[in-house]
Amino acid sequence: MRECDWTQLCKLNSGNTICGVSAVVVRPGNGETGKNVKTVFFKAVVDVEKCMGCSICTKVCPTTAIFMRARFAVVEEYRCSGCRACVQACPFQALTLEPTDKVTDPRASVALVRPPWTIGEEKAAWVSQRKAAARELCQRAGLHPDQQICMCTDDLLAEDVAAAVLAGKTQPDDLVLAVGLRSGCTVLCLSALFRILKAAGIETKSPPANGWNWYPGTPSQDSFPDEFDAKYGALGYRFSEDKKMMNQVLSSASTDQTEISDERL
């Protein structure tokens, strides 16, 4: 029996067989938010008849969940966030997303690891244990701790990522599985990710096997020197005004733990 998956398909037909609440989930969504976690309903599956062994999928996967074995791509399903990046990148359309009713570990040949699984279950605990330090890390990264970092999962704030980093999840692929960033578009959250890692003094490892799963480093508002207003202002750029606005956002964040609502936790 499952929670409602919010597709609301049940409302589409009268006298229907489609249920949203009572547990007969016809086709669940790719993820649901709630209690600060993302439930993953889909996993990437390789069709070996179509796979040409080009290894491109291994180089784009944000969780480094794909490896090559005997010239075919293999997905470590328990590391798949269902982001669809590999599905889109495969030039031979050999990858699809399928429901995660059965997830296997190909290295260990274990049959069933877990049914639809959740990303970020420990997030709330990490934040509550390290809230002040996480918020302070966000400030050093130039991010408001309550700023949304991921537009896809809808519920991932800068302080969540900072708390995970402080809890030892320090590399881009681990952070996907820890808090859910890069599990959707895989792109928009990258800048915040690298800013937090840099502020924490962590050196980002290289992706495996000459992959291009990520390239570290990112500019920010502070990358624009003061003289840029004089140099490029005539074109319409407003560096100082934007810097002031971003600084106001930052200064509105309190690092005092007692002032922060814990409603989300």
Binding site: W6, T7, Q8, L9, L12, R27, P28, G29, N30, E32, T33, K38, F42, K59, V60, S81, G82, R84, A85, Q88, A89, P91, Q147, Q148, M151, C152, D155, L157, S183, G184, C185, T186, V187, L188, C189, L190, S191, A192, F194, W214, Y215, G217, T218, P219, S220, Q221, F224, F228, Y232, L235, G236, Y237, F239, E241, D242, M245, V249, A253, E263, R264
Partner: protein, 477 residues
């Protein structure tokens, strides 16, 4: 004018990884009884005459491109060189892709005619739908036009380091794997809520031609009136300047293609592109900003935010009550940064203007997934039509809460009736990427007819001079 016109043809649907199969779409919005249309020229009779759509429109674009390229110096190109003609997905998705395909054909022909180089290749870059470019290449026959030398390039493809005035940024290797780069784009308003019509001509260098890391910095790390500098920083880098050959732009308007321009000096062309865009789109977006109430109906093979009415994208419309072309306005109502600064409870962490209050409800008859936009149904009551589309959006990894906020609807007509009743309006605006104007309800058409003359005068008198001067552009440009 209070006449009832027939509707304009909506954008053609095509099979895609990102949308429901076209044969599952029971009805298009333009077919709903009572719908009518307005041409851009009905609303703004002083609109620039168009070469597309027009009689022989495709050929007009081809000829205009050949003519524009006469101004381009190609003397530096040598026999063993390679040229990448680079275009992003967005101009290829405009107007069913027809005018840009014609322009690309002409560009290839001219490059082969006027240079000794035989390796003229096409690179089609894209947004957050990594397979869209490959779909467009096949759908528009670009691989045939370029004789098998057309490649898609996605934001997560192999990167190349580009050292710039603001540090190291990342371009896409396949864009720059040639001796020369020929930049092709349009003056379309499209993501005005992101680029704010600042250095518009350079935008693809920091977005469509860049890796995800650099795009993320553009969207999430800097204010909206600074972020476009990423594009300029990349373009001005020694790495790009060494390869940059020339550019060609379709100057477009809410009605279609007005002109084709080309040249070697992108800064000079950029002024022309920006001035044209402000002139051509300023009135339409101002007009839409003044709408007091409406139901938006999305019905195009585009992600939700890029469905257009008279070439104004739904996301730009959602921000249009504030003047997004005015650089004194710091944040638009809807942009990635604005969404990011709406924290968990929906409380803004910065002074973000509200979503257009005239946008009372949305009916999504047909739109694509493949870009994050779950904030919109949170803020605007939204219905999604049809089981297949509901399922698709419920399964979109980029919008995992979309169907938590949007409601399903069985049919388009039922959804429109519900939306109009709840929003207490009969004014309907259709975002179906129709060419030449917009489809709407009769009441909306009459409302726009009445508003347009005053908007036109205000833009000519007050706003256009202000927009130009904010960007350092002399009025004559």
């Amino acid at each position: 004018m209070s006449e009832s016109r027939s509707t304009l043809a909506p954008a053609l649907l095509r099979p895609s990884l990102y949308g429901v199969a076209p044969d599952k779409v029971a009805m298009r919005a333009a077919q709903v009884p009572g719908m009518t249309s307005r041409l851009t020229t009905d609303l703004f009779p002083d609109s620039t005459p168009l070469i597309y759509p027009a009689l022989n429109g495709k050929n007009n674009v081809l000829e205009a491109t050949r003519k524009a390229l006469e101004a381009v110096n190609l003397d530096q190109v040598e026999q063993n060189d390679t040229i990448n003609v680079v275009v992003s997905h967005s101009p290829l998705a405009m107007m069913n892709g027809e005018p840009m395909t014609a322009a690309l054909k002409a560009i290839r022909e001219v490059l082969l005619e006027r240079t000794p180089c035989r390796q003229v290749r096409l690179r089609v870059t894209g947004g957050s739908r990594f397979r869209e470019q490959a779909e467009l290449i096949t759908h528009l026959g670009l691989d045939k036009i370029f004789e098998g030398k057309a490649k898609p390039v996605a934001a997560l493809d192999r990167g190349v380091a580009i050292d710039t005035e603001i540090g190291r940024l990342w371009g896409l290797h396949k864009v720059y794997d040639s001796t020369w780069l020929f930049h092709v784009h349009t003056s379309d308003l499209r993501e005005v809520h992101f680029h704010r019509m600042l250095d518009r001509a350079l935008k693809p260098f920091g977005m469509a031609y860049a890796r995800g890391e650099t795009r993320s910095a553009f969207h999430m790390s800097m204010g909206p009136r600074s972020a476009m500098f990423i594009c300029r920083a990349i373009f001005q880098s020694e790495f790009v300047q060494r390869r940059y050959l020339a550019s060609c732009f379709l100057l477009v308007s809410p009605g279609g293609v007005a002109e084709v321009v080309a040249g070697n000096d992108l800064n000079q062309l950029g002024e022309r592109v920006t001035a044209s865009a402000l002139q051509e789109f300023g009135k339409m977006i101002q007009l839409m900003g003044e709408i007091d109430s409406c139901v938006a109906v999305l019905d195009a093979p585009m992600p939700v935010i890029y469905c257009t009415a008279a070439a104004i994208a739904y996301a730009a419309f959602a921000s249009a009550r504030e003047d997004v072309l005015d650089l004194d306005v710091a944040l638009p109502a809807f942009s990635t940064l604005s969404e990011s600064l709406l924290n968990h409870g929906g409380n803004p962490l910065a002074p973000i203007p509200p979503i257009h209050p005239g946008l009372r409800a949305c009916v999504q008859n047909y739109a694509w997934r493949g870009s994050p936009f779950s904030t919109l149904p949170k803020l605007i009551p939204t219905q999604v039509v049809g089981k297949e589309q509901v399922e698709m959006f419920a399964g979109d990894s980029q919008n995992i809460s979309y169907m938590k906020h949007a409601r399903p609807a069985e049919s388009l007509t039922q959804a429109i009736a519900t939306a109009c009743a709840e929003a207490e309006t009969d004014k309907i605006l259709v975002f179906d990427n129709a060419i030449g104007g917009l489809n709407c309800s009769q009441s909306m058409a009459e409302y726009l007819d009445a508003l347009a003359p005053a908007v036109s005068a205000k833009v000519d008198r007050d706003l256009m001079p202000r927009w130009l001067s904010q960007r350092g552009i002399a009025p004559k440009v």
